[in-house]
C-alpha cells in the first residue's frame, strides 16, 4: 500500500467525468468538404491556427475512425444520399457540425437542386454561420461541442442502451424466484405429509402394543 501511494498513480473520479474528458479532447473530424468552407477548414488545420491544440490532431478520411462529421459546403440533392450514408457509417458516439451558411440553411442557393440545410437529412449538433466562416468561428464551434460533450452522461446513455436487456434479466430473475419458491413449497408440503404419516403409524403401533 505504501509503495503504491508513493508512486501516486491512482486517482479517484467518476466514470462520466473521465469518459467525457477523453472524448472531448480527442475529437477527430471527418472533413466533408464540398465548397469554400473546406478551404477555411484547411487553414484551421495549419500551424497558424492549429486545431491540434484542442486534440483534433488527425483529420480522418474514413467515417469509421472519426467522431465529428464536419459538413463544410453546399449539399445538393444528388449529394444528399452520400452524406447520409457517410453519417450512417460513423461509429457512435458521433457529432455533426454544419459549417457555413450553405450547410446550415442552403445559403443563397434557393434553387431546385440544393438541400435547404443538412438538418433535413441528419441531426446537427453545432451550426456555424458565415460565408465562409473564419477559423476562429470553427474553433468556437469546437469549444461549444466540447461543452456539450461535457454534459453528456456515459452511464445514463449506457442505462438507456441496456434498458431492454435489464428488463429481460429482471423478468427472468423474477420467474426463477417464483419457480424456486414453488419448489420449496412443494418440498415442505411433501415433508409435512411424510411426518404426519409417520406419526400416524407410530400412534397405531403404540395402540397395538398397549393392547
Amino acid at each position: 500500500m505504501t509503495a503504491l501511494a508513493e508512486k501516486a498513480n491512482i486517482i479517484t473520479s467518476s466514470l462520466d467525468f473521465i469518459v467525457n474528458w477523453g472524448r472531448k479532447n480527442s475529437l477527430w473530424p471527418f472533413p466533408y468538404g464540398t465548397a469554400c468552407c473546406a478551404i477555411e477548414f484547411m487553414s484551421t488545420e495549419t500551424a497558424r491556427y492549429d486545431l491540434s491544440r484542442i486534440g483534433s490532431e488527425y483529420v480522418r478520411f474514413t467515417p469509421r475512425q472519426s467522431d465529428v462529421l464536419l459538413v463544410a459546403g453546399t449539399i445538393t440533392y444528388k449529394q444528399a444520399p452520400i452524406l447520409k450514408r457517410i453519417y450512417e457509417q460513423m461509429a457512435e458516439p458521433r457529432w455533426v457540425i454544419a459549417m457555413g451558411a450553405c450547410a446550415s440553411s442552403g445559403g443563397f442557393y434557393d434553387a431546385y437542386c440544393t438541400v435547404p440545410g443538412i438538418d433535413h437529412i441528419i441531426p446537427v449538433d453545432v451550426y456555424i454561420g458565415g460565408c465562409p466562416p473564419r477559423p476562429e468561428s470553427f474553433f468556437d464551434a469546437m469549444f461549444q461541442l466540447q461543452e456539450k460533450i461535457q454534459d453528456e452522461s456515459y452511464m445514463k446513455a449506457r442505462a438507456e442502451r441496456v434498458k431492454e436487456q435489464l428488463e429481460m434479466i429482471k423478468a427472468k430473475t423474477a420467474e426463477c424466484k417464483e419457480n424456486a419458491e414453488k419448489a420449496v413449497k412443494n418440498a415442505v408440503s411433501c415433508g409435512v405429509q411424510t411426518i404426519k404419516e409417520g406419526k400416524d403409524n407410530l400412534m397405531k403401533k403404540v395402540a397395538f402394543w398397549k393392547e
Binding site: 440533392y77 444528399a80 444520399p81 431546385y112 437542386c113 435547404p116
Partner: protein
C-alpha cells in the same frame, strides 16, 4: 464586320440562314433545323469560316418573354475561331414546344456530346442522333426540366439512393480494351442491403 457580311451572304445562299436582328452588337444567324448539321459542318471546315471551337450550347425558354411571338424554345451554338482574333458568331435554332427536336452535332464537335446532354437535362430539348442522351447534372430520379420557365421555383425532389455509376464506368473501360475479371461483393451489392437506411419512405 465586312467578314461577317461576306459569310452571311454565303450562308444565306447555301443554307437559307438569316441574320438575327435582335442581336445588335454581335453576329447571330438564324437557321432552320434541317440545315443545321450541314451549316455547322461548313462553319467548321470551310476556309472562309474555320470556326474550330464550339464554346457552348445554350438553351433558351421564351415563355413569358416580353413582346415575343414565335416558337417557345431556342438552342444557340456559340462558336469561336483560333485562326483569326476576336471572330465569334452564334447560330440559333428555334424549336417549338410540340416538336422539341434538334439534330445532334456531337459527331462534329466532341464537346457537343456533354453540352447537348446538359441542354436536354435542363430544357428537355431532344437531340436526334446523339450517342448517349442522358441527364448530365440532375439525378436519375429527377422528373421534369428545371430551367423551363414553368417549372415551379420552389419544388424540391429528393433522390432516394446514390447514383450508381459503376455500370457506366465498366462499359467505358471495356470500350478501351480492359476486361472485367471479377467483382468484389461490395461492387455487386445486394440491393436491399445496400440501400438500407437510404430509401425513401
Amino acid at each position: 464586320m465586312a467578314d461577317c457580311e461576306k459569310l452571311l451572304a454565303i450562308l444565306e445562299e447555301k443554307f437559307g440562314a438569316k441574320r438575327d436582328l435582335a442581336d445588335k452588337w454581335g453576329f447571330t444567324v438564324l437557321v432552320e433545323r434541317e440545315n443545321l448539321h450541314a451549316l455547322m459542318l461548313f462553319l467548321r471546315d470551310d476556309q472562309s469560316a474555320k470556326f474550330d471551337v464550339l464554346l457552348d450550347i445554350v438553351g433558351v425558354d421564351y415563355l413569358g418573354f416580353k413582346d415575343y411571338e414565335g416558337p417557345r424554345f431556342a438552342v444557340e451554338y456559340v462558336l469561336k475561331t483560333m485562326k483569326a482574333p476576336v471572330r465569334r458568331m452564334r447560330v440559333k435554332v428555334l424549336v417549338s414546344e410540340t416538336d422539341c427536336k434538334v439534330p445532334s452535332i456531337a459527331d462534329l464537335y466532341a464537346i457537343a456530346n456533354w453540352q447537348e446532354r446538359e441542354v436536354f437535362d435542363q430544357y428537355g430539348v431532344v437531340f436526334e442522333g446523339h450517342p448517349d442522351l442522358r441527364r448530365l447534372l440532375n439525378h436519375a430520379e429527377f422528373e421534369g426540366h428545371p430551367l423551363r420557365k414553368d417549372y415551379p421555383a420552389h419544388k424540391r425532389q429528393w433522390l432516394s439512393t446514390n447514383d450508381y455509376l459503376l455500370p457506366e464506368l465498366e462499359a467505358r473501360l471495356e470500350s478501351k480494351g480492359y476486361k472485367i475479371v471479377a467483382r468484389s461483393k461490395e461492387v455487386m451489392p445486394n440491393d436491399d442491403e445496400y440501400l438500407e437506411g437510404s430509401r425513401k419512405v
